[in-house]
Symmetry: C2
Subunit: 184 residues, 2 copies
Amino acid sequence: MSAIPRPVPPSAEPKAPQPAGTGLLFLREEEIRLAQDLLFFAYRDFTNAADVILEELELGRAHHRALHFIGRNPGITVSDLLVLLRITKQSLARVLSALIERGYVAQTPGSADRRQRLLALTASGAALERRLFERQRDCLAAAYREAGGPAVDGFRRVMRAIMNESARAYLDRAGTRATRSGGR
Amino acid sequence: MSAIPRPVPPSAEPKAPQPAGTGLLFLREEEIRLAQDLLFFAYRDFTNAADVILEELELGRAHHRALHFIGRNPGITVSDLLVLLRITKQSLARVLSALIERGYVAQTPGSADRRQRLLALTASGAALERRLFERQRDCLAAAYREAGGPAVDGFRRVMRAIMNESARAYLDRAGTRATRSGGR
DNA sequence: TAAATACGTCAACAACGCTGCCGGAAAACC
DNA sequence: GGTTTTCCGGCAGCGTTGTTGACGTATTTA
């Protein structure tokens, strides 16, 4: 068993009889297919970086995502968190109640609207989130170092362009929270 | 209910009393946290692009991933596909048997090693994969146009650097398959 | 007061991961 | 040539994380 699959024989048949002069189109397609691979592998290995810690605490990636967004948005409401994660109330409830039960997340009634339960990390929740963060940070920092500053800028531009409008809007507003950088 | 969560009040407490002069470190951390968000949202919306088609065919994302890698590696063995997807034999078997049952994937015994079942897309499988591909292509092509050529190069560099060694090696070998570009 | 909203919860279900075990065919080894 | 290993398929069972739909309660709003 090879740890790394072979490239597969150069495919004897040209599959689709391309019209002459499609060189550019073909390259374009291969570019896109490469991007599919890049997104799959990078996301897989990036999320994987935190799995060791999660496993020993009997938590899953869903818990990690919740911790991440609560940590980044202390005082967020449940319904806003639902919109961010794009999951249903039920899915979140399960994850959230586990986090609250273990003392990683605290909820306080909203001062303006007392129906709301504002979510925030407890001290131990923040500590856990930091451990998870550092794993992924190491992975990303190494990648940034290797790729270089200009590449990082391009990376951000493309990633941002891939996501839809509401996600971009969130990033814009989130960017004004911690740093004062504003719109890039 | 806001379609887009608010940025959350600028967090009255400075949470951790940072030692003076950590401006650069703080920026660094915010950079990494931004990247976490970018990966989450971009991957989510990118994979989401194909979901409409999958849903009407009663297929899932796991089926899409299998179609993608079989399409890109016609004649791949089951065990090599397992390594690529990083799932267990059982998980793949379920997905694969569904695809074979519906006539999207064909398996032929290996010529060198007749224990192997070499996997390839059928005509209808290739057609389906193309439909799925085109959805994601549209998403990516728009992003590439918007971000510009140099950004795309940076994107590729960073994504590649994020993934682990075996995934990079796969990309290198896959790159020599369709195009003759070799090492970028 | 009536309606809408924010949140929690229960039931049931589906997709997609996992482990462990068994079996058959073919290859590889001695 | 016989043993072992490998490649693959199948079965049983389970866990996580997503889904829908319905109902209840507190609170705000019209």
